[in-house]
């Protein structure tokens, strides 16, 4: 399983990755006015036309004004909530790692959007024939043995790509080698069961706009137990209702209040 490692401490906020994504995936520019955020972020959010955004955060550094970056895209969860939520397998986890989408199956119900803990899937609100769109981890390139367009474009080598286990090891090695530079946490190693986009940061991830307080269990675990009760509920209800009906009918029969005779 492949994974991307985003080392936000190396990122310069140049946004080559953001543009490379649009270029490779043929996504149109969106209309912006000035900047969307306190600093220079644009656009404000991911959308069906912008699958990844570099986020800007003016936060203190060494007790002086500073500037930090984050990067939001689809995290390609190891056990993706979106794929579990999707009623038609339009979103699927591939063996290679990317979570991919098939519009031919999709209903446009947007449950994946509600389910995703990273708010990654986006919808074509402006189209009569809409699709769910999100970062594909450049499945086309990756399947052909390449690396994602954004990774290839990053001048700072803030983005790396490889086997997930190696990326986790690399991330942990970086923290070990420069403990002062990083918060001691590989975001995505365990979050919601692990993701295939891992992040390193110099400041708490929460302050860089990453969802915080995520559990280590896959989000889908929450529905699995409920879903697994379905056949039990059916069987129990089937038995219980029949039995009740039988008993009730028998009693009415005995009291002479036979339903048949209602006519």
């Amino acid at each position: 399983m492949k994974a991307m490692l985003v080392d936000t401490t190396r990122c310069t906020g140049c946004r080559s990755c953001q543009v490379a994504c649009k270029q490779w995936n043929n996504l149109p520019a969106v209309q912006t006015r000035f900047f969307s955020d306190g600093s220079m972020q644009n656009p404000a959010h991911r959308s069906s036309k912008t699958w990844a955004v570099v986020t800007f955060h003016e936060l203190p550094k060494n007790n002086r004004p500073g500037l930090f970056f984050g990067r939001l895209q689809c995290f390609h969860c190891v056990d993706p909530a979106c794929a579990d939520a999707c009623p038609v397998h339009a979103l699927k986890k591939t063996k290679l790692g990317p979570v991919v989408y098939d519009p031919g199956l999709c209903l446009g119900c947007r449950y994946c959007q509600m389910a995703c803990p990273f708010n990654a899937p986006r919808f074509d609100w402006d189209k009569p024939v809409p699709e769910i769109r999100k970062c594909t981890m450049c499945y086309d390139r990756v399947a052909a043995g390449g690396r994602p367009a954004c990774v290839a474009a990053c001048p700072a080598e803030a983005l790396a790509f490889g086997e997930r286990s190696e990326m986790v090891a690399e991330a942990e090695a970086r923290i070990r080698q420069s403990p002062a530079r990083y918060v001691a946490h590989v975001y995505g190693k365990n979050e919601v069961g692990g993701t295939c986009v891992l992040h390193l940061a110099a400041v708490p991830f929460e302050s860089l706009g990453y969802p915080s307080g995520l559990p280590d269990e896959p989000v889908a675990d929450h529905i699995r137990s409920a879903m697994h009760t379905v056949p039990y509920a059916m069987a129990t209800l089937g038995l219980a209702l029949g039995a009740v009906a039988w008993v009730v009918n028998r009693r009415m029969e005995n009291t002479g209040d036979k339903p048949d005779k209602a006519e």
Binding site: T12, T32, R33, G66, L67, A156
Partner: protein
Amino acid sequence: MTNHWIDLQNADVIMVCGSNVAENHPVAVRWMEEARKRGAVILSADPRFTRTSAFADRYCPLRSGTDIAFVGGMIRYAFSNNRLNYDYLRDNTNASFIVKPEYAFNDGLFSGFDPASATYDKASWAYETDENGVPLQDPTMTDKRCVLMRVKAQYKRYRLKTVCGIVGAPRYLYEKFCDLYTGTYENGKAGTWLYAMGGTQSTHGTQNVRAYSVLQLLLGNIGIAGGGVNALRGESNVQGSTDMALLYNQLPGYLAAPAEKDKTLADYLAARTPKSADPKSANWWQNTPKYVASLLKAWYGPAATRENDFCYDWLPKYGRDCSYVNLFSGIESGDIRGLVLFGQNPAVSGPSCQRQLAALSRLSWMAAVDLFETETASFWKRPGANPSDIDTEVFLLPAVASVEKAGSITNSGRWAQWREKALDGPGDTKPDLWILDALYRAVRKEYERGGVFPDPVVNLAWNYDGADQEPDPRKVAQEINGFFVAEATANNRSFMAGDQAPSFAFLLDDGSTACGNWLYSGSFPGPKPEDNRMAARGIKQGDDRIGLYPGWAWCWPVNRRILYNRASVDANGQPRDPARWVIRWNAEKSAWEGDVPDGPWPPGDRYPFIMLPEGHARLFAQGLADGPLPEHYEPWEGPVQNALSSQRHNPLLLSAKGKGPAKEPGSPERFPVVATTYRVGEHWQAGALTRNTPWLIELVPSAYAEIGEILAMMLGIKNGDRVVVETARGSVEVYALVTKRFGTFRVGGKILHEVGLVWHFGYEGLARGASANVLTPDIADPNSRIPEYKAFLCNVRKAAEG
């Protein structure tokens, strides 16, 4: 760059001062990161906290226009903490040279100043020499008149407190910077200084760069791996175009352009060929006659003979300042009537651009060769102009983009890299070479029918046609490399007419060689396409221990990757830093190893700085117009008095009165806020390329000014408001980016504010906005003539609603 991009990985301390490398040279950061992996520290000094600062480990603010104070303080810090590399200074620099006793420095003025003309007589800045003309030295470097002591005396006034009071930085930050950076004085420690327009675009810009160099020499950081004074160049091929004589006062290969006083070739050579009486000085420029003769042969071909001085007379001789700013005075005055713009957009990029725009309508014709209809090309229909009032005839010649043609591009590390055409240009677009070729042929046709002084035009050696009858850039490249026009023996080798020159060491002054640019000799040493060394892509070839990659492309001079590398070794040719050695002398083989050394001589035979007649790098230099040592002055529009002397700004600017800037400088009373201009990573220059690219417009859609939170609060400005920024030249309305990243500057007991504008915008293209150059002063550095885009005065207010 004295070094090159990959070499940044070898540094221990990387100082980014005068550049925003992460935005403007983004690929560089990967080599900086390599350095950091090895434990290097990255420092960022900039008026505002940039994306480079975000990438750096530490940040220190400095007010725009105060680099010399900033560096001067470091120089003093190095002296007072004994952080000088004495061995290095003695062997490699003019530290031990004795300066003439008449030399003096007093209250901001060096000796020899003539207030009437506002120029210096530089005679007193010379070295004391012996009877043979060899400079006197004091190897102990303790003589009061030796250069090192002169330097020490000069910067004695630059105390931490004084400097912080000028640059406006908190002392603890600045002191830490001094400490970290001067720590590289030891052998085995390398500090590199990265600068670009933040350093140069100033009325003392050349002296800013001199200040960086002086500090680097004091610390022994030049010529070594991971060191250097590294100009991060601008336009993709600006290094190449500078090498080919971008400036009016140069010929290709940094030969001086003949001035009016250089009447004959002999006059010219006598005046321009440096001499040295010291046998240990290589004095490379003594070869000037060979390079000039070869150049003229390349230009005028068979018409150029020894007897007719190789047609030297045909060269134009300049009699006055023809630099960029003055060109426009020439247009204004009607002296210049036609203008060809090859990929330039002065209506957006020039200082005081309103003035330039107005000047353009005085032209009778203008031809713009560009990818887009730029603001300059459409000046006649700009907002507010009435096309029927403008008589200028304007031509727009569509050019192909860089990837749509073959040719070489020389990067900041002096690597000439050949690129093949990737795809065809759209429509009728043509390569610049094709356009130039057609233009020349048309002009020649006119001159063949007669005209004033047709000789230089009709006799030009001009045939670059390739197999397909189209001009072939390879032919141009081969001419630039140089070739033999006649059978000859050079450097003990014999050549046939038509042979390509192996390198400039084989060029001759007798007319048997032709060479378009001696510096590039060796780049294309054979007749076949495979001989094009600029197209070499051998990554694994040669010595890549310290990332020299000599098999990748070709680098001037003679593929030397680190300039002045002789300074990296001791008298026995052994590296001062054995871990990251650049060159070393193998006594057994009697040969140098590693990079191509500065000259073939064994160690000790020649002084290390072979391009200078004294053979030593200059801490103290006679060359510049405005002083032998960098001295702090306020910008032309300075917000305060000079804290170090009563010379408010560069004294040579007095000479600009009347002929230079159209307007008097704005006063700090009316314009209390310091202003600067700069780039963002997402846009390119005057914007034609990027303001027509929707993906980039999405990221930065509009012109804006960065304003610190405190100033914004005082003025009642909120993030995203429209604000008016006004200077003595004009005013613009832009968005306000209110940010913590622009702090305040405590200067001379006052709190100063600074704002910064991006200058990429104009009224053409898909994304439009006000041009920052409406605001900038058309005052220039007295040496380089670069305008002071980086420091001026303004006023800011919230724009009226609606």
